[in-house]
Symmetry: C2
Subunit: 91 residues, 2 copies
């Protein structure tokens, strides 16, 4: 099972914290504000707890979806994934 | 089966076209750059074709995922969905 995290956050620092939390839980960036990875239910729960703590009462929205392996394999990606090279790391 | 579209597009006009294509295919906005909806395979294919045409050779990335109903029901949403009222329509 895969975990997909998408977020809609304006504050730069907070957005970086969310990205860091995703990376530290084994997800890989697939868009500027989207991370995907095949992680265990325990890691997913840990990530969700961390995301809740990080967002706290700040403005923004984070959504976490579970997607079966066989459907991730059917994902359609149009255009360039992660355009913009270096900026990817800080956005 | 649900269809989730997430996109990472800098150009305002193009981003609006992508949003319009999603809406016209029966999806609902769940974040500034994410649409979700329970649509038929035929509609999904039509949407993917339209998204490919709209993006063309422009810079950006669009990803289309299929997610089973029972997993969409388990989606975790942290914070406010669609913060910012009016701006939602134009972003």
């Amino acid at each position: 099972m895969y975990t997909l995290v998408i977020y809609d956050i304006t504050d730069d620092k907070l957005r970086m914290k969310i990205a860091k939390a995703c990376e530290e839980h084994g997800l890989s960036r697939v868009q500027k504000s989207a991370f995907l990875g095949r992680i265990t239910p325990v890691m997913r729960k840990s990530l969700i707890d961390r995301l809740k703590r990080e967002l706290g009462k700040e403005r923004g929205n984070i959504q976490v979806y579970m997607i079966p392996d066989e459907l991730v394999a059917l994902k359609v990606s149009i255009g360039d994934e992660l355009p913009g090279s270096g900026e990817v790391l800080i956005i």
